[in-house]
C-alpha cells in the first residue's frame, strides 16, 4: 500500500533534496527497504548491520516504533512514516 515517508533535512542530500518520498510496503522494514531501493545512499546513513542506528528515530503516524513492533510494525493505509534524529531535547 502507498506510504508517505518524511525525510529530515540531514538526509536530503541523499534524496536529491526531496522531503517526502512515496513508496509501498506493509511494515516499517519493507517501507525502509523501498526507500533504500530508491535512494541507495540512505541505507548506511540510518542503518547499521540491519538495525536502525542508535540515534535514528522512526515514527508511524506520530508514534515511536519502539513502542510498537520496531521494524515489524504494520503500516495502515495512508499512514505517514517519519524519520528524525534522536539527538534533540533535554
Amino acid at each position: 500500500m502507498p506510504v508517505t515517508v518524511k525525510i529530515p533535512t540531514q538526509l536530503r542530500a541523499a534524496t536529491g533534496g526531496e522531503a517526502e518520498i512515496e513508496v509501498s510496503g506493509s511494515t516499517v522494514g519493507e517501507v525502509l527497504d523501498a526507500v533504500f531501493e530508491a535512494h541507495g545512499g540512505l541505507r548506511e546513513r540510518i542503518t547499521q548491520d540491519g538495525d536502525l542506528r542508535r540515534f535514528v528515530n522512526v515514527y508511524v503516524s506520530g508514534e515511536d516504533i519502539r513502542f510498537q513492533q520496531g521494524l515489524e510494525t504494520q503500516i495502515d493505509d495512508g499512514a505517514e512514516v517519519t524519520i528524525l534524529p534522536a539527538v534533540a531535547g533535554g
Partner: protein
C-alpha cells in the same frame, strides 16, 4: 583559544559553526570542538578570577566567536557544605550541595539558555524557541525578554501550574501540547526544519549544552581549584550529566586542576528511568519509556544523551540509580530540614539517590561528594503538600498554650 567546528560524537565528521545538531552521515549528535593548545593555565586562572560574577568568566570555554553577553547572567551559585545532611544519612563523607536554584529563573537551565540565546544572536536569529519540561520554558521566556527577542515555548499541556505561570509572565508565546515531553520534542524537531527559529535544544543544542560545563568549572573553582571525588547529578536527557564530565575533563587536560575525573552517580525517577535501566541491564542504548512520575522536569522517556551518560557512569566507576515518588518527597524534606534548601522534585531525585548510596555504604569516609540541586522547590509545590500540619489557633495566649502544652511541659 578558539572554537573550531562542530564534530559528530559518533563518527567524527565535522561541520561549520552554524545551526546544526545531527550528523548527516550517522545522525550522531554534534558537539563543539575547541583548540585549547595556546591556553596558559596560570594566565587562564587569573583571567577567570578577574572575570564577571557569573558564567561569562568562563567565556574562553564557551562556543563563541566574539565575547558573549547577557543581561541576566546566571552562575556562581552557592556551593554549601552540608554536614547535618551527612549526619542524618549516617555517612562520614563530606557532602556539598551546589544550589543551582539560585539562578535568575531558579534552575540550572539559565546556564544553557544564556549560552544559547547569546549564540542565537551571534548567528543572527530573531526568534528563539524550545521544547521544555518546565524549567527550560521559564529560562527561554525570560532570557528572550531580556534580550528583546521573540520566543515560542512548547511544553506538555499538563505541566505544573507554577511552571506555566512563571513562563507566561514574560510575554512569550506559550504553547501547551497535548502529549508528553517526547511528543513535544518530536514536534519541535519537525518545526525546526521549517521555521527560521533558534530552537535552543534542537538546532542550537550543541551550543546550548556547552552551558552546563560551567557547573563543573564553578564546582572546581569553589573547591579551591580541586575536583570532587564524586558527583551526584540528575539525568533527564543526560546532557547535564555528560557536560559536567566534559567540563572537568577540559580543565584536567589543560592543567587548571589536577587528579582524575570524579565518580559519576546519575539520578532518575523510577517512573522515568530509561538511563538507569540501560545501566542496570548493560545496554549501550536506552529503551524509551512513557514517563509517569512527579519529577516532571526529568520526565524524558527518550533521552538524547542517554547512551553517553551510561558510558560515563561506567567509565568513572559510578552508577545510575532511580527512586520512587515517595522517596522523592522524603528527600525534598530531608534536604530542606538539614540545609535550608527547598528543591523541586528533580532535587528530590538527586538527594534520594545520595541517600541510597549512603545506605549501601558506597560513600567513603572523608570522600568529597558534590550534589547538584538543579531547581527550586516553589516550582513544584504539590510535592510537599500534606507532609506537615499547620497549628491553627485563636489570637490569644491561652489558645497558643493549649496547642503547645505538651511540648512545654514534657
Amino acid at each position: 583559544m578558539a572554537i573550531e567546528n562542530l564534530k559528530c560524537k559518533e563518527c567524527g565528521a565535522t561541520y561549520d559553526l552554524g545551526a546544526h545538531f545531527a550528523c548527516e552521515n550517522c545522525f550522531g549528535p554534534l558537539e563543539v570542538a575547541y583548540d585549547y593548545s595556546d591556553l596558559d593555565p596560570a594566565e587562564t586562572k587569573r583571567k577567570i578570577q578577574a572575570g564577571s560574577q557569573g558564567i561569562w568568566r568562563y567565556a574562553d570555554f564557551l562556543p563563541f566567536e566574539g565575547r558573549p553577553g547577557d543581561p541576566l547572567e546566571p552562575g556562581l551559585t552557592p556551593l554549601l557544605r552540608a554536614d547535618r545532611l551527612a549526619e542524618r544519612l549516617g555517612t562520614e563523607a563530606e557532602i556539598w550541595i551546589k544550589n543551582d536554584a539560585a539562578n535568575p529563573t531558579h534552575s540550572f537551565k539559565d546556564r544553557v539558555v544564556a549560552v544559547a540565546v547569546a549564540k542565537a544572536q551571534e548567528l543572527g536569529f530573531e526568534t528563539v524557541a524550545c521544547a521544555s519540561t518546565g524549567n527550560l520554558a521559564n529560562a527561554v521566556a525570560a532570557h528572550a525578554a531580556a534580550a528583546g527577542l521573540e520566543s515560542y515555548v512548547f511544553v506538555p499541556a499538563n505541566l505544573e501550574e507554577q511552571k506555566l505561570l512563571a513562563t507566561g509572565v514574560y510575554g512569550t508565546n506559550l504553547v501547551g501540547v497535548r502529549g508528553n515531553y517526547d511528543d513535544v520534542n518530536r514536534l519541535c524537531t519537525q518545526l525546526a526544519e521549517t521555521r527560521p527559529w533558534a530552537f535552543v535544544n534542537v538546532n542550537l543544542r550543541p551550543y546550548y549544552a556547552e552551558g552546563s560545563k560551567t557547573l563543573a568549572y564553578e564546582t572546581a573553582e569553589q573547591l579551591g581549584w580541586e575536583l570532587p571525588d564524586r558527583v551526584v547529578c540528575p539525568i533527564a536527557s543526560g546532557s547535564l550529566f555528560t557536560k559536567v564530565g566534559r567540563g572537568f575533563q577540559e580543565w584536567l587536560d589543560i592543567g587548571l586542576v589536577e587528579g582524575e575525573q570524579p565518580v559519576f552517580n546519575g539520578a532518575q525517577a523510577e517512573g522515568c528511568s530509561p538511563v538507569a535501566t540501560a545501566f542496570a541491564e548493560g545496554w549501550d542504548v536506552c529503551k524509551p519509556q512513557r514517563p509517569d512520575t512527579i519529577a516532571k522536569s526529568l520526565a524524558i522517556g527518550d533521552p538524547a544523551d542517554g547512551p553517553y551518560a551510561v558510558e560515563q557512569a561506567r567509565r568513572t566507576g559510578g552508577g545510575i540509580d532511580s527512586v520512587t515518588d515517595a522517596e522523592i518527597r522524603d528527600a525534598i524534606s530531608l534536604l530542606a530540614e538539614t540545609t535550608g534548601i527547598f528543591t523541586e522534585t528533580a532535587g528530590g531525585v538527586t538527594v534520594g539517590v545520595l541517600k541510597k548510596l549512603a545506605e549501601r555504604g558506597e560513600l567513603a569516609a572523608g570522600e568529597r561528594v558534590v550534589v547538584y540541586i538543579t531547581g527550586e522547590g516553589l516550582k513544584t509545590l504539590d510535592a510537599t503538600r500534606d507532609r506537615f500540619r499547620m497549628h491553627e489557633i485563636d489570637p490569644v495566649l491561652s489558645s497558643f498554650e493549649s496547642e503547645f502544652t505538651q511540648e512545654v511541659t514534657v
